[in-house]
Amino acid sequence: MDKTKKRDLIVSLGLIALIFVVVAVLEKVLPTTSMLFTVLKKGSIYALVAVSMNLLNGFTGLFSLGQAGFMLLGAYTYAILTIPVEARAAVYQYYDGGIVQFSVPVIVGILLAGVVAAFFAYLIGLPVLHLKSDYLAIATLGFAEIIRAIFQWDKLGGLTNGSNLLRKFPIFHSTLFPFAVSALCIGIIVMLINSTYGRAFKAIRDDEIAAEAMGINLAHHKRLAFTISSFFAGISGALLAMFQTTVQASQFKSAMTYEILLIVVIGGIGSITGSCISSFLFVASSEWWLRFLDNSETYIGSLHLGLLRPGFRKVVFSVIIMAIVLLYQRGIMGDKEFSLTRIRQRLSGLFKKKKVQ
């Protein structure tokens, strides 16, 4: 049993390494403007935030919709702290160059993005984590909306640049960067979930009353899950800022939380690999694969497809999502993880059946 586990781990690590090699090779071969890289970059960032949301919704059973708010905190923290000092006068042109007059290295900025998001999560968690299911969702959604409004507030302009863009902070060029950061963070989340704390989270999800009766401190563990989830949401916010090259509070609408929730649900609530796979599929279909549907000048032979017009891809996209939710009610992966052992068992099962026939 342990041997197969060890082998699975090695194979998984090997697969991840292989993905990195493939991405590195693709970067050398394809032009950097290829849509593929946009999808891979955004996909990896969304994968991280989806996994962080899954830690909360799927593994601890806390239905929270504050993810966009924590991403905003992370994105702003990163942007504010890493804009080079000489560029600040240009960025904060309406606020006398802003009040922050230093900048920190990229890695420190990313870490602090997580820390700030986690800190706010801790504070907001004190009152709201007593709430159950939909009430918690509404409270966290409210928090995300309030934080967005506060960051656009004129009086805080010296820090947040009001409703203007933050820009000129260091960004990444290689797809490998968001891949590496996301992989590292998701790896840590997986290790957390497989630790004794992860098991306690799952116990809380399965039966809160039994968990408490078995000595699991509910308030402490819920707060822990909420804070950790927000820490990684903050980091993904920082990555998103780097990806978009600019930060503006209005980008972090509740629609973003819904996109992430959609990814989690489609991937399977309680499945890490499901969240990762579905985030890439989601980003690819919404940004790339369905683009052709927006082209109103599409002809098959001489037949003009009159239905196609700008915005039509969103209709198709919605239909696809409805179909997926109807067909796979528990998401692509359910609450299972992608594992080679299972695939092998499936295949050998198929093979045996054929033999019998």
Binding site: M191, T196, D207, A213, L218, A219
Partner: protein, 280 residues
């Protein structure tokens, strides 16, 4: 005199105008098996919920190993509504959450089985070991607690072995037959290293054969784990066989207490609960 493990003084639980438990006083000594019996709705489970911290009593006091762990008195809205007795005797408000009570050494099972349904048999017991951890979230995530984790797993395997659940340890807990699920609940409670075990209808839904096995099983774990047991049960064979003392509740109030023989011949109990023996 033997050591007093649990002592309940004037426990009253009132929900709005309904008095679910009315001035219940009882005690459990070390090594005893004490049963709480009574008709449905008599307030037995409510009393258990109060002992484990799930409900806050309206009035009264609970001591565990001589130490006051729970105390409350009617306050706020309840001041006017309060229908119980002993008003004004208790001055403190001690309302620990259930996990704190469990940490002190009180473990329980549930009347309607509450296993963690997505988890394996092994993990159900292993999770209960979480409470006694010394690791924090960082050391646990980065596997710096490997020694403790290994010890927990070994203890879990040993416990499952003793309770005869080791063969099914990798199965999902919901696939077990009913009797084994109840046994797994007891295993999970034992994993918290309790001094006092509260069993809420351990024999519910069991046939006579299973009940007989359970009787023996409860006696065995009491001796093996040096436990004190307090249980709620409706199977009179089990109760009369195994109990050192019995408390009888009816409509929230204590109507009788004593040894099984005394209870069986107590006219009040017969009228309220046991019923007349038609052959007599």
């Amino acid at each position: 005199m033997s050591e007093r493990v649990l002592e309940i003084k004037d426990l009253t639980l009132q929900f709005g105008g309904v008095v679910a438990v009315n001035s219940l006083s009882m005690y459990v000594d070390k090594g005893e098996i004490v049963s709480l019996i009574g008709p449905n709705g008599a307030g037995k489970t409510t009393a258990f919920n109060a002992i484990t911290g799930l409900y806050v009593p309206t009035n009264g006091q609970i001591l565990f190993e001589g130490k006051k762990i729970i105390e409350n008195y009617p306050h706020g809205k309840m001041k006017k509504l309060y229908a119980g007795s002993e008003n004004g005797k208790y001055k403190e408000r001690l309302e620990p959450t259930p996990d704190k009570v469990t940490k002190l050494g009180v473990a329980r099972t549930f009347q309607n089985i509450r296993l963690w349904k997505t988890q394996s048999v092994f993990d159900n017991v292993l999770i209960a070991k979480h409470m006694r951890r010394t690791s924090n979230v960082f050391t646990a995530t980065f596997r710096l607690n490997a020694a403790e984790e290994k010890k927990q797993r070994e203890e879990t395997a040993e416990l499952l072995n003793i309770l005869g659940l080791y063969q099914v340890k990798d199965q999902n807990c919901t696939t077990l037959p009913y009797g084994l699920q109840r046994r797994l609940e007891i295993a999970r409670a034992l994993a918290t290293d309790p001094k006092l075990l509260l069993l809420d209808e351990p024999a519910a839904g069991m046939n006579p054969q299973e009940t007989l096995e359970l009787t023996e099983f409860i006696g065995r774990i009491r001796d093996d784990f040096k436990l004190t047991v307090c249980m709620i049960e409706h199977h009179m064979d089990l109760v009369m066989n195994i109990s050192d003392r019995i408390y009888v509740l009816n409509f929230g109030a204590l109507i009788a207490k004593g040894t099984p023989e005394e209870i069986q011949s107590n006219p009040t109990v017969i009228a309220a609960y046991l019923g007349e023996d038609k052959n007599a």
